[in-house]
Symmetry: C2
Subunit: 328 residues, 2 copies
Amino acid sequence: MNSKSIFNSKTQILVTGGAGFIGSHLVDELIKLNCRVIVYDNFSTGKKIFISSHLGNPNFKLIKADLNETKKLSQAMKGVDIVFHLAAHADVRSGFDNHFIDHEQNLEMTQNVLEAMFKQKVKKIAFASTSSVYGDAFIHPTPEDYILRPTSLYGASKAACEQYLHAYSAYYQIETWIFRFVSFVGERYTHGIIYDLLQKLAKNSHELELLSDGSPKKSSLYVKDGIRAIIKAINTTNNINKNKFNIFNLGHDKYLTVREIVELIIKTAAYSNVKQKWLGKKSNWQGDNEFVLLDTSKIKSLGWQTQVSLSEGIVKTVRYLQAHPELF
Amino acid sequence: MNSKSIFNSKTQILVTGGAGFIGSHLVDELIKLNCRVIVYDNFSTGKKIFISSHLGNPNFKLIKADLNETKKLSQAMKGVDIVFHLAAHADVRSGFDNHFIDHEQNLEMTQNVLEAMFKQKVKKIAFASTSSVYGDAFIHPTPEDYILRPTSLYGASKAACEQYLHAYSAYYQIETWIFRFVSFVGERYTHGIIYDLLQKLAKNSHELELLSDGSPKKSSLYVKDGIRAIIKAINTTNNINKNKFNIFNLGHDKYLTVREIVELIIKTAAYSNVKQKWLGKKSNWQGDNEFVLLDTSKIKSLGWQTQVSLSEGIVKTVRYLQAHPELF
């Protein structure tokens, strides 16, 4: 595959959010493939430690800037072959209390990225979307052509980004890859249920209060499995797709209930006698989806498969967070 | 039906864009149903003449204001039972040259409407969406559960509005009706292909330059047929739909080619010996869709049907515009 790979020593790549959890794993992989990589990150949630191994590498460039600094962004786009737009406000919960944060940080920043690409004639983009665009789907596993019915403003802002991406793609023949992620887990994971539970347990290991009744069913994907899927999808579909617009679900075939996830976290973290207090709501928070399981037959048809099981991914994440108390 | 109608003398309704082409027809109908109607319009494209027959009616109130005047908007929402949000930037073409106008006037103004509803606890909204959300669909007639792939920023902004509407509906149990319109025609029509052609013909009736090759296929709907559909849909589905989120295509079963439409306009306007110069592109402009035909079986299943044929609608529009040269 690598002989035909578009990821080679001539490829200039810009990764927004490249110092974040998923972004930094992508950067690791792109540097391994000898690409020239620019990380564009405002370090609001990204961390220098995640990309520090590349500092000094002539193929690596770091731009510390915000996506609303449109001149800097446009400058950074010069000569770029493909943009990975991963920077986002990724806390699904907060949109219920703050109705504008997802709009501003996800949709408007994506507009800025698209405008900079338009000005610099960049013709390829990969975008980190989310399973949240489907909302409470009636079909599981949920396929890519399922209707979008987001139940959170996070999901709505990402679904809106997809629409804007499609319009720019149609206007300017921009080859586009949308990846709809389930929750990613693994090394450098810094927010989400595993992080929250370990934080709570560190404060009080006797009693753990949980919002749902434990029944919601969730899938997650080990981050390195996800990165391989992204590279595979782009390399396989590049220039062969007539309408230049590709959507891929990225997730695991299996799911666990929230109760099972919580018990696995407690066990892995080696806490004992934790009294679980389930508050009994059908979802974990307003806008959460009770059942997340994506149909990944499209990405699997390209020859990709998961290498890390659902529980292994969670165990790796717990171990990583326990080894890095400085992240709390 | 009227005995159970939610449209009665106790119903307080706010219509954004209520002085516009479609909005003013809706207002006529709501006033006929004895509702109390507030028109909220900035008169950027709306016209006082369209609503002047209601001035002085105690059931009618006019607020001349912009949707970005959020305090006025919030005030206007007090005690409102249902919002019809029709105000929009409705010129599909201009988004190619101005990448922000649809975002600002459609998505951000819809956000303002949703925020005002949230603040005043308004729990019902009907929204004017568009067939443009489907882009160049592969299935015709196109059903409501078809994927959204807008090819214009107009279509993308409306599709984005739908996503935000869904999130607010899920967060706050707001009953929502999305109506995806094909082009509406009829009295008070003030922009679109019929308007443009009559304007061109008035300037030069010898030669008419046309962007496409005449082959694009378009459906349209007579505005009063559309208004009946909206009232019928809301009355029939109000409070019976579990997920409170309803989407209806509104269109005609038939379509005409652009060449047929142009010839009908020329004939109706009684021009003769017009040399048609077809420039031969596959679409009329960047972002236009070659074939627009919606599956309307959902609205028809509620007992609605068109009363005015496709060509009658166009003929009525030409006659109206010819009788109102002041609109040019």
